[in-house]
Symmetry: C2
């Protein structure tokens, strides 16, 4: 979504992000003439989008009244993962008033999942969190046609292709809705309340079950012609690598992702290369379904287990190689690493940095932070709330 610069939208976004502000300061900050500002504020007050909030501290002259985003506003933020539903209901400042989180298999299909989302939101209403919603924002783990509000050929979401998610949510809740890819909303969230605050050009790299990249350029998310920009998990990094779920060989996420790491950890444990992993495998509750996870590898590495450290470094080297290419191409001002495997922490980060800094041109890396996400698991719902408020503000005009 390209954000419009209409004055009423700038007012709403400023009040959303910064809280109560005096009319005088609003006019200064947004460089609006006093009559223009007062007219816009008048209109937004009449539309119940902003409200009076008492008097401002004196600035020497006449005291100015504060305005704030209307305390009645409510947005629903939904982050659908491959195996989870995360929901927050937030106020106009995007502060969470209630949160719901439960496991759910995205493969159970759109009807069941959207119905469960509606049930959780109905529960929030029953709980008194809201009377009516002003917008719903939802992220899904696959490509999305942002314009049409539908998933498009999402590989891990059988039955969801062109399912009218936006339309159904809008109808159910009687308000605007907006649908985006899960990694895009994470990038938006991290820019709103995380480490990429106010950064215009950055890449948000999610390393979890799969690998994806949110591309934030020139202050807005770039989604690509078909909504699949940033689908970097299927970039080939080793022509002789393992076969990927997509059918090609040696894709990035076939070599390093939650699933790949679990596979490699199990192999290392069984081959006797890793005392730490072997111990965790032996201690597993159900030996028949014995398995290891990224957490086991992270813990092993923290204990100094050489095989665990090697697994993380090899993964970091793969990711770093792809990111070096993307840095040469996109020349961003920051790279944020998020997703479940970000818990592998500084060993992973150090390896990624090392490859990116060595392989990209000095001009592009001279001042390029490569950092971990600050919001962690909350990046998605935070971004979905931002999108919901943006669409509510746009449509309210």
């Amino acid at each position: 979504m390209h954000l419009s610069d209409a004055p009423h939208l700038r007012i709403l976004r400023l009040l959303r992000d910064e809280g109560p502000v005096s009319r005088a300061e609003l006019g200064d900050r947004l460089e609006l003439t006093r009559p223009r500002l007062l007219a816009e504020v008048e209109r937004l007050v009449a539309g119940d989008l902003i409200a009076e909030a008492g008097m401002a501290a004196s600035r020497g002259g006449r005291r100015s009244t504060l305005v704030e985003i209307h305390p009645r506003l409510r947005f629903a933020a939904v982050d659908l993962g491959a195996s989870s539903i995360d929901i927050e209901v937030v106020n106009g400042r995007l502060e969470p008033l209630a949160a719901y989180c439960e496991p759910a298999d995205i493969r159970s299909g759109p009807k069941a999942i959207v119905q469960r989302v509606n049930e959780l939101l109905a529960k929030a209403r029953t709980d008194g969190v809201y009377e009516r919603l002003d917008a719903v924002g939802i992220g899904v783990p696959g490509p999305v046609s942002f314009r049409d509000g539908v998933p498009v050929s999402p590989p891990i979401m059988p039955g969801w292709d062109r399912y009218p998610v936006r339309e159904l949510l809008a109808r159910e809740h009687g308000c605007p809705a907006v649908v985006d890819n899960d990694v895009n909303i994470m990038a938006i969230g991290e820019r709103h309340g995380g480490v990429a605050h106010s950064v215009d050009d950055f890449l948000y790299v999610k390393i979890g079950t799969g690998i994806g990249c949110g591309i934030h350029l020139g202050g807005t998310v770039y989604r690509g012609v078909d909504g699949c920009a940033g689908d970097i998990g299927h970039i080939q990094v080793d022509a002789n690598g393992p076969v990927c779920s997509c059918g090609n060989a040696g894709c990035l996420e076939a070599l390093f992702s939650g699933a790949a790491l679990a596979r490699d950890a199990l192999a290392a444990a069984r081959a006797g290369e890793s005392p730490a992993l072997a111990e965790r495998l032996a201690g597993a509750d159900a030996p028949g379904a014995a398995s290891l996870s990224a957490r086991d590898v992270a813990e092993g590495a923290a204990e100094g287990d050489v095989a665990c450290i090697r697994l993380i470094r090899e993964g970091g080297r793969r990711v770093g190689g792809v990111l070096a290419t993307l840095v040469s191409f996109a020349n961003p001002s920051m790279i944020v690493i998020g997703g479940g495997l970000a818990q592998l922490g500084h060993v992973l980060l150090a390896e990624i940095r090392s490859v990116v800094y060595r392989r990209s041109l000095p001009l592009a890396t001279g001042n390029l932070p490569v950092v971990l996400s600050e919001l962690g698991g909350r990046a998605g719902v935070t971004g979905a709330a931002v999108l919901a408020s943006d669409v509510a503000f746009e449509q309210a005009s």
Copy 2:
């Protein structure tokens, strides 16, 4: 440069791109009310930016007068290559009125080169091509800070770092000037008058002495935080490959570019692997400085020489591998191949396509043309003229 949508700019661009149009049609096309349109046109006529151009054919009602971009407008378009200066002086429709082209070594430094550009433009004035220029647009073969109008750490342009190219040209010619990277202006040119006409999201890949990529996203060139976005020549494609001029090993342009192809062609000729190349090498004028070029390889391939075809296909495979990655990342709607090595033609193109279509996700390649540049060597000056006119229109308001 993000293009503003102010009405006077939309009028000027439409007249630049389409020629004389009636006031009535202008109002319809740009969705402007009649009073607003007439006021804008009045102002542009008064400013000598547009002019009356007779009566339009009747559309049934009152006949409407045509307006056109002012026939007096003149823009200078300059394309500096590693070893050449190309200049066109164009009118307000961007039609060339005069062209100058000569060899020049960019390494002779900014003073000598900019002076030569000024001499050629002075010659054009003496020749009666223009009385005064309305803007100068120039492309240089290196990263550029578009905002500051200076080259930034350009690897093949010693002495040019932060040299005030824009300021000096503006002062010399008494008009606005604009500086950009050479590949960016090629992309802009190809979008204005070539195969990417009106395409909003595409990649222009120049394969010449070096390799670079112009990134056109959402209708505008994306230049990156430091002006070096699209610098894809130094992406590592083979960790065991030859050392590149940048100091790293196995960069794309160390494996496939004008210089790399000449090197590999010479090796093939000397190893007796290529009768076509050996014959051309023997026929060279100065045996002491015996060398082969991309043209020799293209001719050899056209004759069916197996080694020549192999060289082109190997190069296409390298370029295709990098482009497959960029397609997964950026999800563009077209890829345009230009630069000197585009003369290798359809053998090269077929190999690039094959790799891109095989390696990228089906959703991203389902409707992705990979095509040769239509403008060829004129893409650069065409884009420089577009940029010059854009900046003249912006500053005229």
